[in-house]
Subunit: 383 residues, 2 copies
């Protein structure tokens, strides 16, 4: 299913030889129309990889015929030559499809600071183009994995149309080790402007609220393509709901597969004076290495929660903050609350609820614990 | 030596029974004058422990007769009762010295969210007062350790006076697991206002530029006490230099003893448009878990340096940034530079130099690598 669940899309995933070891490393997703409307959101990192710079430019036209994605190399920090490599990749896809490179987005993930093996990559484009099919969604999702242990795919059915998607990596705006790449497709008929607005709102509530390790990638890209092949102009509220569901589903899969994590932590901030305050507090708590270690050790260490809350500029009084872990309010009024022995930290899912007692707003940030396995994976793997 | 190196100071360190296990856990430092001028800087965390709230209030008078410090409990997030405990501690010290509690600073470190065992603590104050001596500096430095593997002490001699100090923990404003506590003494005759100005400048250039794990404690305190016993009004520039040297020496000791660290990393930012930009970039790079893991794995991963630089608002162009690791410029103009195989990552000290090519300013932030030992220590130890 994945990106080929909606009508009008073909895909392929091949082993081009970019990665050593013979695994799939090149994916191609093609929109056969009749519409080519598309939108994208990209990393906020000021150091952007060549494919991000290219695809941002392409998306200004609001149209995409195809997306080509490679694992095995990020093509980031590779200078003007790296940008030429991205351009050549788009041209090769255009040639294979007898179409224009100006409607081909490029995504790359892998090591920063190394040129891509272009001979292998360009041959891979030909191979992928030859294998394009309506069944190719799974192979495409497999080909974009780096340290992902499983492929991430999703699809949702709506009134007369579908939304499908694939993703790799963990997080957005603050992802873990690996870049987050995501392609979402629909056979509904939606204009580029509407796709753009829907995608921004959907990612803001899903991928943007994942914060696995606070590190921001050079390559993060989320694309949304509409073929219009179902011949349905959807209700936009329903459409946004479906796109958000696909994003949330993929975000959850990314979190569960985050490198080295043993816990999925929901940092739920309530009673905030504004949604911004709730997000600020949620992010600060999600980025506390000390707290993430404590959760790994199954220690309901609410002191580390308060210490992180105290670093923010959110509206709150320290003696009015309450904290629950897995439903037990172990901190009340900024001081000791219920018995910490009542907190069961054994489940994989841990919910930390922070009540700022400052207003009616709330937000949840999703993160993971900090483990020796994370350290091992990220000290041994060069990315 | 430590805090009793300068004339006019006595100190003691005793086992009061606050910690289980019988280790020293209470220190007392007394200024016998003739001057009692003093200044302090405190954590910027908005969640402040009771002893921080107390000592900030005391320091408004610009005078300190004594400082009492305990390990074994932070007295943070303990509500009004915790504040009363701090007050009672100061009163007990005042009673033992026949002096005023309004000139007694209190510092605590250890677990957040638990009341201190006040019977043990108050008995300990009596024991410490009975043992006060000119030789007590080392015992006092020993008594404030938590996870510190060694005591941290320093002293510097100047023209006719001395500056001494002790510290525990790691970091300031963004310390590691443990709170940073530091007491600096001098027998020079310096006014409280001058002490305040000197201490703020000295800590801004030393402790403030340590960033072991980006976490900010509820209890950080640095105090500077002048007895005037040497009868010397120092040249203030020289005095600031000596205080800064003591702070830098203690900061270095904290960094080397940071929990679980195997590398001491200097993130040196040059070519910045402002000192603020240099500090912003230095802190962002110091807080990249991915980079800290890479250094632990002795991988000269300059891509992760650039990815962290790109998250800041500092003035720079991505294609003009250069990065050296241990002197090898492996990234030039935002792309591949010299051969990464030339970088020797084996020494404990690792220097990452980032040239923003945007101006004449520079700053260095000191941090550590991220290790499985850090995770182990902070998931097993409740603080």
């Amino acid at each position: 299913m994945s990106v080929t669940a909606p009508l009008g899309f073909r895909a392929a995933g091949v082993a081009a030889g970019i990665k050593s070891g013979g695994a799939r490393d090149l994916a191609l997703v093609v929109n056969d129309g009749p519409s080519r409307a598309a939108a994208g959101v990209f990393t906020a990192n000021r150091v952007k990889a060549a494919p991000v710079l290219w695809s941002q430019q392409v998306l200004k036209g609001g149209r995409l015929r195809a997306v080509v994605l490679n694992s095995g190399g990020a093509n980031a920090c590779t200078g003007p030559e790296g940008f030429q490599d991205t351009h050549a990749t788009a041209e090769k896809v255009a040639e294979a499809l007898s179409d224009s490179a100006g409607e081909v987005a490029v995504c790359s993930t892998g090591l920063i600071g190394e040129r891509l093996p272009m001979d292998a990559l360009l041959s891979g484009v030909d191979a992928a183009a030859a294998q394009l099919s309506r069944d190719g969604g799974l192979a495409a999702a497999d080909a974009i994995r780096t340290t992902d242990t499983v492929s991430k795919i999703s699809f949702k059915r709506a009134a007369g149309y579908m939304v499908g998607g694939m993703a790799k990596g963990a997080g957005m705006l603050a992802p873990a080790l690996a870049t987050m790449l995501c392609v979402i497709t629909t056979d509904a008929d939606v204009s580029a402007d509407d796709l753009d607005a829907v995608l921004r709102r959907a990612t803001a509530k899903t991928f943007d609220r994942l914060d696995a390790d606070g590190c921001m990638s050079t390559n993060d890209t989320v694309l949304l393509l509409a073929s219009g092949a179902a011949g349905v102009k959807p209700d936009l509220a329903e459409f946004e709901q479906k796109v958000t569901e696909v994003c949330a589903d993929l975000a959850r899969q990314l979190l569960v597969d985050a490198e080295g994590a043993s816990k999925a932590i929901a940092v739920e901030v309530v009673g905030a004076a504004s949604e911004r305050d709730a997000l600020t507090v949620g992010r600060a708590v999600s980025r506390s290495n000390l707290l993430k270690c404590a959760v790994h050790g199954e220690d309901p260490n609410w002191g580390r929660v308060l210490a992180a809350v105290g670093t923010t500029d959110a509206a709150f009084e320290p003696d009015r903050v309450n904290v629950a872990i897995n439903g037990i309010w172990i901190c009340r009024g900024g001081a000791v609350g219920d018995d910490r022995a009542k907190v069961d930290m054994r489940p994989r899912d841990v919910t930390i609820t922070i009540d700022l007692s400052a207003g009616p707003h709330s937000a949840t940030i999703h993160t993971t614990d900090l483990t020796a396995a994370y350290v091992h994976e990220n000290s041994a793997y060069s990315s």
